[in-house]
C-alpha cells in the first residue's frame, strides 16, 4: 500500500495529455497559414489556450442543442408508447416545440424565493449545468475527433465530475426554502451517493479487464468487432453492463428512480421553486446527463465508436457511436414509460442488497477470469459468449414455463 502512494499514484495522472491535440492543432493548422514573419514569434502557450477556449466555446454552443433534440424525442417517444402524437403545433410535426418552450422559459419571470438562500439558489443550476457538460469533455465521440479531456484517468474523471451534481441538487433543494424541495434534494442526495457505488464497481470490472482508466484505451481494446466489445468479453461484464445501466438511470433521476422529482409525491422535487431560464438549465442538464451516461455506457461496454465488424464501418465511427448511444437513450425512455416508481427505502434496498453484492461478485469473478485467461483470445471470448448464451436460454426457458401459468395466481 505504501508503495502505491510512494510511487506517486497521483503523480501518474497525466492531465497534460489533454493539451496535446491543441498544441498539435496550433502547430499543424494555424502556424503554416500565418505569414512567416508572425509565425516565428507565435506564442505557443497563449495560442494553445486560445484554441482550447475556442473549442470549448464551440462545444458549449453545440452540445445544448442535444437536449433540445432529446426533449423532443422523449416527448415523441412517450407519445408513441401511449398512442398519441406528441407535440404537433410548432413547426412541421412539432419539431420546433422545444425551441418554442425554450424561448418561453427565457421570457418568464425569474422568481427567487424571498426567504431562501439567494446565493445558493442562483448558483445551483449552474453547478449542475456545468458538471453535466464537463462530463462530455472526456467522451471519445469517434475516430479522429479530438477528446478535449483525454486523460489517462478519463473514466475516473467522469465519475468524479458527475458526483458533484449532487451538490447542485442539495444546494437547489436547501436554498429554495420549500419543504418539497428539501425532501426532494435529500432523497436525491441519498440516491446518487448510494448508486455511485454499484456504478463505480461495475465500471471497475471493465477497468480490470482493460487495465486502464483511459477512455481512448478502453475504446481501442474493443476494435475487433462485436465479440470483442467488453460486454461480451466475460460473463461478468455482461452482468456489469446491466447494473451499470440501471444505476446510471438512478444517477440521472429517471423513472423508476425519479424520486427526487416524483411529480405525484413531492410536486417537482428539488426544482419546485425554480422558474424561467434557471428551470430550463435543470432541464437541459437532465437530458445532457442522460445522453452522457448512455455515451459512457456505449464507450465502456458496447465498443464505443468501434464498428460491429473489424473491417466495416457499420455501426462504427461517429454516426455509429451516436446511434448506439441513442439506442440506450431509447431504452431509458422505454423503461420510463413502462415502469412505476420505487419507494425510497426500496430504492436503497435495491442498491445495497442487490446491486452492490452482485457487483462485488462481479469483481471477484472478473479477477478469476483475468487469472484464467491472461489475454483475450478466441477461447476466452468463445467461452464467455457460450456462458452468456446458455444463461439467457435457460432464463428464457424458465420464463416460458412461467408464461404457461401466469405469474399471478387468480384469487379464487
Amino acid at each position: 500500500m505504501s508503495d502505491f502512494f510512494s510511487d506517486g499514484f497521483f503523480n501518474n495522472i497525466n492531465l497534460q495529455d489533454s493539451s496535446n491535440w491543441a498544441t498539435d492543432f496550433v502547430q499543424d493548422v494555424i502556424i503554416p497559414r500565418l505569414p512567416e514573419a508572425v509565425a516565428g514569434h507565435f506564442p505557443m502557450e497563449l495560442g494553445t489556450v486560445l484554441v482550447m477556449l475556442a473549442f470549448a466555446g464551440i462545444f458549449v454552443a453545440v452540445v445544448p442543442l442535444l437536449p433540445l433534440v432529446l426533449v423532443l424525442a422523449e416527448r415523441k417517444v412517450a407519445a408513441r408508447f401511449q398512442n398519441r402524437t406528441g407535440p404537433m403545433r410548432v413547426g412541421p410535426w412539432g419539431t420546433l416545440q422545444t425551441l418554442a418552450d425554450g424561448v418561453k422559459l427565457i421570457f418568464k419571470e425569474d422568481f427567487i424565493p424571498p426567504q431562501g438562500d439567494k446565493v445558493l439558489f442562483l448558483l445551483a443550476p449552474y453547478v449542475i449545468f456545468a458538471c453535466s457538460f464537463a462530463v462530455f469533455a472526456a467522451i471519445p465521440f469517434g475516430d479522429g475527433i479530438p477528446i478535449p479531456g483525454d486523460f489517462n484517468i478519463g473514466i475516473f474523471y467522469i465519475m468524479a465530475i458527475s458526483s458533484v451534481i449532487v451538490m447542485g441538487v442539495i444546494m437547489a433543494g436547501w436554498s429554495s426554502n420549500s419543504k418539497w424541495s428539501l425532501l426532494g434534494s435529500l432523497r436525491s442526495a441519498a440516491q446518487i451517493v448510494s448508486y455511485e457505488i454499484p456504478l463505480g464497481l461495475s465500471i471497475l470490472t471493465v477497468v480490470m479487464l482493460v487495465e486502464s482508466l483511459s477512455m481512448s484505451k478502453i475504446v481501442d481494446t474493443q476494435s475487433g468487432g462485436i465479440f470483442t466489445w467488453l460486454i461480451f468479453r466475460s460473463p461478468f461484464t455482461f452482468i456489469a453492463f446491466f447494473i451499470f445501466f440501471i444505476s446510471s438511470i438512478a444517477e440521472v433521476n429517471r423513472t423508476p428512480f425519479d424520486l427526487p422529482e416524483a411529480e405525484s409525491e413531492i410536486v417537482a422535487g428539488f426544482h419546485t421553486e425554480y422558474s424561467g431560464m434557471r428551470f430550463a438549465l435543470f432541464f437541459i442538464a437532465e437530458y445532457a446527463n442522460m445522453f452522457a451516461v448512455s455515451a459512457i455506457g456505449v464507450t465502456l461496454f458496447l465498443g464505443g465508436w468501434q464498428g460491429v465488424l473489424p473491417g466495416f464501418d457499420f455501426l462504427g465511427g461517429f454516426p455509429g457511436f451516436v446511434i448506439k448511444t441513442l439506442g440506450l437513450v431509447f431504452l431509458m425512455m422505454w423503461l420510463r414509460w413502462t415502469l412505476p416508481r420505487l419507494r425510497v427505502d426500496q430504492l436503497m434496498n435495491l442498491c445495497w442488497k442487490y446491486f452492490i453484492p452482485i457487483s462485488f461478485f462481479n469483481i471477484l469473478g472478473t479477477g478469476i477470469w483475468g487469472l484464467i485467461f491472461k489475454e483475450d483470445n478466441v477461447w476466452s471470448i468463445g467461452i464467455s459468449c457460450a456462458i452468456i448464451y446458455v444463461g439467457l436460454i435457460s432464463a428464457y426457458a424458465i420464463a416460458g414455463r412461467n408464461l404457461a401459468r401466469r405469474p399471478e395466481p387468480q384469487p379464487s
Binding site: 408513441r80 408508447f81 401511449q82 398512442n83 398519441r84 402524437t85 404537433m88 422505454w334 423503461l335 414509460w337 413502462t338 415502469l339 442487490y354 432464463a395 424458465i398 420464463a399 412461467n402 405469474p407
Partner: protein, 239 residues
C-alpha cells in the same frame, strides 16, 4: 438465497413483460386527433362525429315559442329568464298548430287539416298553413318547389314518426334570455318544451361557442321583430 434469486428473477421478468406490452403499443396507430385542425371530423379511422342529440348550446326557435314558461320552471339553476304579459282574450297570435316529425328527421310545423283528437297514421294527411320546415337542404328545397305558395303539403301517414300538438299562444314575450354560463346542460328544459322549439344544438356550433366576455354568454331570443307594427305582417309571419 432462493428468495433472493426469485426476487431478482421476478423483477426482471415482470419488467420485461411490461416492456413488451408498451413496445407493442409503440407501433399501434394513434387514438388522438388534432382537434381544432381536424374539427370537421372528416372520415378518418379514429375520428368520431358528434352524436345526434348531443347536449350542446341551448337554442330557442323563437317564432314557435308560445311562452309557456315550463322551461323556466324546470331549470334547476334558473338560467332561463322569460318575461311577458298575457294577451287579451281573442288576440292570440295563432291557433293550435301541429309539429309533425317525419321519419327522415324533418319537421314540419303547420295545421293538419280535418284533425280530430285521434290521429290516424295510416292515412294521408294534408298539412296547411306551414310556417317552418327543418331538415336536409334538398328536402326543404323540394318542399319549397312543391307547395310553398299554398303552404300546403300532403304527407303519407307512413312517413310520419310522431305529431306534437302545440297550444295556442296566449303569451306576449318581452324577453327570452338564456344564460349559458349558468346552464348545467341537463336537458330538462328541452324535454318539457311542448312545442319542441327549445333545443340543444348537437353540432360543432353548439359546443364551440366560447366568448371572451361572460355577458356575451347570455343569449337573447328576441321576439320583438316578430310582433311587427303592421298587424297584417304579424299575421303573415305567425301563420
Amino acid at each position: 438465497m432462493d428468495r433472493y434469486i426469485r426476487n431478482i428473477y421476478k423483477g426482471v421478468y415482470t419488467v420485461l413483460v411490461g416492456m413488451r406490452i408498451t413496445i407493442r403499443q409503440f407501433f399501434e396507430p394513434n387514438v388522438t386527433h388534432q382537434y381544432p385542425y381536424e374539427h370537421d371530423f372528416e372520415k378518418k379511422r379514429n375520428v368520431r362525429e358528434i352524436p345526434k342529440g348531443y347536449r350542446g348550446q341551448l337554442y330557442n326557435r323563437i317564432e314557435d315559442c308560445i311562452g309557456c314558461k315550463k322551461c323556466e320552471l324546470i331549470c334547476p339553476v334558473d338560467c332561463i329568464t322569460i318575461t311577458g304579459d298575457k294577451l287579451p282574450k281573442g288576440e292570440q297570435l295563432w291557433d293550435s298548430m301541429n309539429v309533425i316529425h317525419l321519419k327522415d328527421g324533418r319537421e314540419i310545423i303547420g295545421l293538419i287539416e280535418g284533425e280530430d283528437k285521434k290521429l290516424n297514421l295510416d292515412e294521408e294527411m294534408t298539412v296547411t298553413n306551414i310556417t317552418s320546415r327543418q331538415g336536409p337542404q334538398e328536402v326543404v328545397d323540394r318542399l319549397e318547389q312543391s307547395g310553398d305558395e299554398s303552404r300546403t303539403q300532403t304527407i303519407s301517414g307512413s312517413e310520419v314518426s310522431r305529431v306534437v300538438t302545440r297550444n295556442p299562444v296566449v303569451f306576449y314575450l318581452d324577453q327570452f334570455d338564456i344564460d349559458m354560463s349558468l346552464c348545467m346542460y341537463c336537458g330538462l328544459c328541452t324535454e318539457v318544451c311542448p312545442t319542441e322549439c327549445l333545443t340543444m344544438i348537437d353540432t360543432l356550433e353548439g359546443i364551440e361557442y366560447s366568448k371572451f366576455d361572460r355577458t356575451d354568454l347570455i343569449f337573447n331570443f328576441d321576439k320583438q321583430e316578430m310582433y311587427g307594427k303592421d298587424e297584417a305582417e304579424t299575421e303573415e309571419a305567425a301563420d
